[in-house]
Symmetry: C3
C-alpha cells in the first residue's frame, strides 16, 4: 500500500466552475497506483468542489443562476461583508456544496460516470489562485 | 492492509430515497475487513447520496417536499432542459447533497448512528438503474 | 500503513457551530501518523459537519441566519414534527451540509487552509451530546 499527494493550484476567472478532472487523472496516472481512493480537498471557505455534468455547459450556467437566486450578494442584515457584497454569499455557497470529495480508483481509472467531471467552484467575483490538495492511497 | 470494491446497481422507482445500508453492510462483511474506511460513490449527476434518518419515513417525505419547493421543476430561464422539466432540478438537488460519502468501519461495524441510513436519492421522475461504487480499505 | 480511530463526544450549547479542529489535530498528533487521510463522521441526522472560516464569528452568525430563512422551523405541511418545531428543519440542514469530511494529512499537518476550521453544526435548539468518529489511515 502506498500514498501520493500533490498541491494543485487553480487559477480562476472569477465566479464560475473550473474543471480539474484532467489534472486529477494526470496525478493518478503519475502515481503508478492502480486501485485505491483519491481525495480532493479545497483549502478555502469561499470556493468549493463539486462533481457535475461536464458535457453541456448550460448545466453550469443554470447552477450558477440557481445559487445566485438562492443566496444573492449583498443582503441587508449580513454582518460579514469585509471583502464586499460577494463575501458572505461565497461562504454560503461553500457551505451548500463540498470542501472534500473522495473518488475510488479501480484498475487504473477513477470511477467517475460518463458525464461526471470534478470542478473547483469559484464563488468570489474576482479571479483567485486556489489550492486543491490531491491525496491518493492504494496500490 | 487490503482493499475491496463492488459496483452496486440500484433500481429506483423514480424520484425518492432508496436505502442501501444493507447492501453496504453486506459488502463490508463479505470483504473480511474489520477496521477501515468505506467510501460510497454515486456515478451520476442527477442522483446523489445522503445519510438520513431511516426510522420515520415522514422525514423522507418532508425532505422531498422541501427540495421541491426550493428548486421546482421546469423553471423559466433554465437553458438545460433537454430531458424534460425535472432535468435541471435533478442537477441542482445533486449539487446540494453528496456524490461521495466516507464511513469509518470499526471492529467489523460501520459507525453509522442508531437512526442513520445510507440512501441513494433519485432526483429524476422516471425509474432508472443507478450505479454506486463501494470501496473499502483497511484490515 | 496504520490506522487509528477515536470517538469524540461534543457537548453543544443548542443550535450553532462548535469548532473541533483542535480535537482533530490532537488525535492526529497522538496517532504518530504523519501522512494519510483523516475522516470525520457525524453519527446524527440532526447535526452535521462543516469546514468554514474560523476567524470572524460573524460568518457563523450569517450562515445560521441564512439557513433559518431557507428552512424556517415549524413549517405547516411537515409530517415529521415528533420532537418539536426544530425537528424537521434540523434534518434539512443536515441534508444540505456534510455528515462526513475527509482531510488529507501531509508531513504531520492536516492540510486545512489558513482560515479553515472543522465544525460540528448543532441544528437542534436544545443542547445535546453529539458523537463524531475520527478515523485516520496512513503512515
Amino acid at each position: 500500500m502506498r500514498q501520493a499527494n500533490r498541491l494543485l493550484t487553480v487559477a480562476t476567472p472569477g465566479r464560475g466552475l473550473v474543471e480539474i478532472t484532467a489534472e486529477a487523472a494526470a496525478f493518478v496516472r503519475a502515481s503508478g497506483i492502480a486501485n485505491g481512493l483519491l481525495t480532493a480537498f479545497c483549502r478555502h471557505t469561499s470556493a468549493s468542489l463539486l462533481i457535475q455534468e461536464n458535457a453541456d455547459p448550460d448545466v453550469r450556467h443554470d447552477l450558477d443562476a440557481f445559487f445566485t437566486r438562492l443566496s444573492p450578494d449583498g443582503q441587508p442584515g449580513w454582518r460579514h461583508d469585509n471583502e464586499g457584497a460577494d463575501d458572505m454569499s461565497a461562504h454560503i455557497r461553500t457551505a451548500l456544496t463540498q470542501t472534500s470529495i473522495g473518488i475510488p480508483l479501480v484498475d487504473g481509472r477513477l470511477v467517475l460516470g460518463t458525464w461526471q467531471g470534478l470542478f473547483l467552484w469559484e464563488h468570489r467575483d474576482r479571479p483567485y489562485r486556489r489550492e486543491v490538495v490531491l491525496h491518493l492511497i492504494g496500490e
